[in-house]
């Protein structure tokens, strides 16, 4: 009996040992997807909300180990009590066991290092053989509080400098544990836009020396794209912004109806797709939903920037918020103000205080890839993968990107804003550029 038990135990240990997954780099497989690329949605709003169907997505191994790491707050800054939990800078890494190239991934607007799309890119590049390090967007509260010099994101020079500084600190932290051969950079949405400015800074300062920089679905002009997204909410809400509450209630109720009637919607990878098929939302409704998501991001950014800079934009300057203070009134007020209003009433006055000669137009111009077009058109290591129908691009933006990046750009006809990022053929384009 005892022998049998011991034997069983030994077997169990052996099985456990055999089950520890070993990951082999699979760049070749990722770069050569099977079948022809066919993104199913011709409507860019549908593409943006629903994304790639599960069958078209790149297959990545399960159980990739992603480790969260932290670094101290910059400048021994005192963190306001209401944001007490932002007391360390957080990032994450999926590390190879041996020496490998490293890629930084920067999140989109208000997206943190653990955002769904950041994690996806992390898994993708880890599978391709990289140490994949995910960094929050400078518009993510944790970054704003612990790593941003001013905590007021949107002023290009400052965002890029803060990111570049943090990447060097992270790199030093990572190099203590794993060997790094070279360093690349990518980012999606606003993170792609940030990547371009960090690449330009790196070109001047050479503190890191990026091997490859990949821009995924970036805006061209932050101001123009913010206007587009602000308008999506305001123009598509029946009755204007005052009906935001009614609109959200309506959306939630429709989802609840769907759940009640059990119309073939199952939780899982294709839930959004099923919901879309069952509800058949109009383009206006989808645009309003996208606008509402961006509006929430704007509220998050504005509130955090306001608390950190004592600007009096949402919170009275002399009010100290405590852990127990209700923030609901500030949420409501934040949701009634768009990103452009944050730009005009918080960001611009804030930076004008620090640089008295700065004009509003200078900030707007600087916050566009056009301001670094000479660098981008020359930089052989900077590439772009995006969709021609990306809804955050304004008229003329696709032309600008085509002109500037030439053969370093890959355009897919469809995919909306970041909607086809998980498609196997789109993923192959990312990996191919990084592996060149």
């Amino acid at each position: 009996m005892r022998i049998a038990a011991n034997g069983l135990l030994l077997l169990l240990v052996l099985v456990l040992a055999a089950c520890h997954p070993a990951f082999k780099p699979e760049a070749e497989r990722l770069m050569t997807p099977e079948g022809a690329h066919a993104f199913p949605f011709r409507n860019a709003f549908v593409a943006t909300v629903v994304g790639s169907p599960a069958a078209d997505r790149v297959v990545l191994p399960e159980g990739i180990p992603i480790e969260q790491r932290t670094l101290p707050v910059i400048d021994d800054r005192t963190v306001p009590r209401v944001l007490w939990y932002e007391n360390r800078f957080r990032y994450s890494i999926a590390a190879q066991s041996g020496k490998a190239p490293l890629v930084f991934i920067i999140g989109g607007t208000n997206a943190g290092y653990s955002n769904r799309l950041s994690t996806y890119l992390q898994q993708l590049f880890f599978t391709a053989g990289f140490h994949a390090v995910s960094i929050s967007s400078p518009t993510f509260p944790n970054f704003m509080v612990t790593a941003s010099t001013t905590s007021v994101p949107g002023w290009t020079a400052q965002d890029a400098a803060d990111l570049y500084h943090m990447m060097q600190r992270v790199l030093a932290d990572v190099r203590q544990r794993v060997e790094v051969s070279d360093v690349s950079l990518t980012g999606y949405s606003l993170g792609g836009w940030h990547s371009a400015f960090v690449a330009a800074l790196d070109h001047q300062q050479q503190a890191i020396g990026f091997h490859r920089v990949l821009l995924i679905n970036p805006p061209v002009s932050l101001y123009r794209s913010s206007q587009v997204l602000d308008d999506m909410l305001v123009k598509n809400l029946p009755g204007g912004i005052d009906n935001l509450d009614a609109f959200v209630r309506n959306v939630v109720n429709r989802l609840v109806e769907l759940y009640r009637e059990n119309r073939g919607v199952t939780f899982g990878q294709d839930m959004l797709f099923d919901a879309y098929r069952a509800l058949r939302p109009t383009e206006d409704q989808l645009a309003a939903v996208i606008g509402a998501v961006f509006r929430l991001a704007s509220a998050n950014i504005a509130f955090t920037a306001d608390v950190m800079s004592h600007s009096g934009y949402l919170v009275p300057k002399d009010r100290e918020l405590r852990i127990s203070t209700s923030l609901t009134p500030y949420f409501d007020a934040g949701m009634r103000r768009g990103f452009i209003q944050y730009f005009e009433e918080l960001l611009y006055p804030y930076y004008r205080q620090h640089y008295p000669t700065l004009t509003r137009q200078q900030i707007i111009d600087a916050a566009s890839l056009e301001s670094i077009a000479p660098f981008l058109s020359q930089a052989a290591n900077v590439g772009l993968v995006t969709s021609k129908d990306d809804i955050i691009l304004a008229p003329g933006d696709v032309d600008f990107l085509q002109r500037t990046f030439g053969d370093r750009a890959t355009f897919f006809d469809y995919g909306g804003h970041c909607g086809s990022m998980m498609d196997a053929h789109v993923a192959a384009a990312y990996v191919r550029f990084m592996m060149q």
Partner: protein
């Protein structure tokens, strides 16, 4: 035994409170003094929820985040390091199978006989053929997995959720669901079908694994949402979710809570 007795007392007290009218009041919109600096007049906001103990709740939310960071998640990290994921899935299946007893009882109480039958079949199949529940063979057999608790049963019979409540460690709840949770726990311990509860109290390691697994299968992480309004968002989502789940409709079968996307 004292634990069970006190749980029963708690349940009775809360239930009485709930039935006596705490839940009968309909919500009138936020009673916030319009914050200076905020020029808009306060109006009913879609995100507002009846939350009379908001100050205490927000403090508890912070406490829970700390407990999560310093106690629960480090333990889960060790667990994930030591136990490879195919085995973690087996353990999750095991506790889900035990949990289906609670679901079954509440399905009966809600007169949902067909789903209750399916749940009973699940329990039987998994316990007998699925290695005491370690392997969920019922799902591939086409038997859906439901989740019902006494909070939902109370909701089914018309009891409103009542004021929002953040429970220490356990997180978002409301008065009704807290009573429901206490009743489920007490009933499970008193009825003790198949001796599961006595095994748990005899082998604390099993109860500990139950708790670690419960945290492990929950993907939520505090303060990763990117919103300083996370408390408000969690409160809103929890309330909506429970409204739907307890409104007498047939909830969708549950799939794994850990989404592997993609």
């Amino acid at each position: 035994m004292t634990r069970i007795a006190s749980l029963c007392r708690l349940a009775t007290t809360l239930l009485t409170l709930c039935l006596l009218g705490g839940c009968a009041s309909t919500y009138q919109g936020p009673v916030v003094a319009s914050a200076d600096g905020v020029d808009e007049a306060a109006r009913p906001s879609f995100i507002a929820v009846d939350d009379p103990w908001e100050g205490m709740n927000r403090n508890l939310y912070a406490f829970n985040a700390l407990a999560d960071r310093w106690v629960l998640l480090p333990v889960v990290d060790v667990y994930t390091d030591v136990v490879p994921w195919p085995f973690r899935d087996r353990i999750s299946d095991f506790f889900a199978n035990i949990g289906s007893l609670t679901t079954f009882a509440n399905q009966i109480l809600q007169l949902k006989f067909k789903p209750a039958f399916e749940t009973a079949m699940r329990f039987g199949a998994n316990s007998l053929l699925g290695m005491f529940g370690f392997v969920d063979i019922a799902t591939p057999m086409g038997l859906p997995r439901y989740q019902e608790d006494f909070g939902q049963t109370l909701g089914y019979w018309g009891v409103h959720g009542g004021p929002y409540l953040v429970l220490p460690i356990l997180g978002p709840s409301n008065v009704r669901d807290t009573a429901g949770l206490a009743a489920d726990t007490a009933a499970f311990a008193v009825v003790d079908p198949f001796g599961a509860s006595s095994i748990q109290s005899k082998y604390p390691a099993i109860m500990a694994t139950d708790i670690v697994n419960a945290r492990y299968i929950q993907p939520f992480r505090y303060f990763e949402s990117g919103s300083p309004f996370e408390y408000d968002l969690v409160r809103f989502v929890y309330t909506k979710k429970r409204q739907v789940e307890s409104s007498g409709v047939q909830p969708l079968p549950v799939t794994s809570e850990r989404s592997s996307d993609p």
